[in-house]
Symmetry: C2
Subunit: 250 residues, 2 copies
């Protein structure tokens, strides 16, 4: 039995001190709107490896990820699985207007969700434009990310795929640590090799081999299996195959 989750005080109902206050679906809310949200919200936690919900199952809340990492994935009958979303802190889970989950959701680390009961939340979308606006913005961002990922899946080599994933994680890490200018040079991978493979449409063997190759070539430095140093971020970007100077979507 793992230790209890320490990070968040689950009784702290105070949105003002919430770590994802300015990035989540509630980012645009005024004080009175937050108050309304606080009435319909509650926290749930999941241990690393636990399922949050299976595709097709009833899901009568939507939620913001407060801490931890969860994945959305699809599985075919014969077991092939593809990850289709990576939920990091501040990301939104669930679809207003739909009462069942479309994808398998799994906590890959210990996860805390800030849940909103579906019906009241849908009502709020209709009544408070600030929530609807932010949700639209976040959904458009996710759509952009999904399209970026389609290029990775459809056209990049295994090596480029790995480099792309590392770059994305590093960027999000930097964003979270409010480390805007300098990109992180050391980070903890939130995903196992298997999850990385599911994300990239590869096998775990190929993931492992390409990570080893990037290490051999000095693009990354491993400390243990999960901690990665990136000595030269531009060098890593070069390996992604992306246009370097082009308008980066952060």
């Amino acid at each position: 039995m793992p230790a209890l989750l320490p990070e968040i005080d689950l009784d702290a109902r105070d949105c003002q001190s919430c770590p994802i206050r300015h990035r989540a679906v509630c980012a645009r809310c005024e004080a009175d709107e937050l108050e309304h949200l606080e009435q319909i919200k509650y926290y749930r936690t999941y241990e690393a490896g636990q399922p949050v919900v299976w595709a097709g199952d009833k899901l009568d809340f939507v939620a913001s990820v407060v801490s931890g990492v969860a994945t959305l994935s699809q599985t075919m009958e014969d077991g092939r699985t593809q990850m289709v979303g990576l939920l990091l802190p501040s990301d939104f889970l669930g679809r207003p207007g739909r009462s069942t989950a479309s994808y398998d959701v799994t906590a890959v680390s210990n996860v805390t969700l800030c849940c909103f009961r579906r019906k009241p939340f849908e009502e709020m979308i209709r009544s408070t434009p600030h929530v609807a606006q932010r949700l639209l913005e976040m959904t458009l961002d996710e759509l952009d990310a999904a399209r970026e990922w389609m290029l990775v899946l459809g056209r990049k080599t295994a090596r480029e795929k790995i480099a792309s994933l590392l770059a994305i994680i590093a960027r999000r890490e930097a964003l979270l640590n409010l480390d805007p200018g300098r990109s992180v040079t050391r980070m903890e991978l939130p995903l196992t090799r298997e999850s990385m493979a599911d994300y990239l449409g590869l096998t775990i063997e190929t993931v492992s081999r390409q990570i080893s190759a990037l290490r051999r070539d000095g693009v990354i430095v491993l400390e243990g299996k999960r901690t990665v140093q990136i000595p030269d971020f531009d060098r890593l970007l070069n390996e992604t195959g992306d246009d370097m100077d082009g308008g980066v979507l952060i």
Copy 2:
């Protein structure tokens, strides 16, 4: 020089008789809201093969596709390209709040757009919830479609990819023809082999070979290069690798 586009009377500013009235971003609008939209809208047409806009270029309108087919695609420096969106009639083009195009947009058939100047449209999103709500719904649908496509790109075989694409086109065709129950058994492919390859992350040779294989196996019947008959739709669905009886996303 191709013939002039015959389908739409460009002076017909009447939203009421618009073919995409109940599916486009304006679907939820009341009479007075439509009137407002009519003041900021104008039509543009593009010939088959013409670019609508390049990624990074200024795009000071958003639009609904009224007729024809356009594609969104991304191209890497070395020329590899991946299609990331297929815009059919009623689909929405552009992102409110962003003044430059994120992707290359190309008309693959003759296309008519119903354009809205960006600024007034953004203002309308803020002021008329019906537009914002519909846009959110459409964006969520697109996100679902993108995620479905990530499974195709990441995990399906070439044969399954082709079958999936044919099934998707057939379903959208049926939806457009208001042919809800029976799926279409004959349809015109709106895409060249090259576009199909770009969509599926394949080469045109592989596309061609797999289409030939499906024809040899009796899954499809070709009439010329672009017209496809589907004798048994369930047979085709079987070839996609998808869960047959599972909740279909129409």
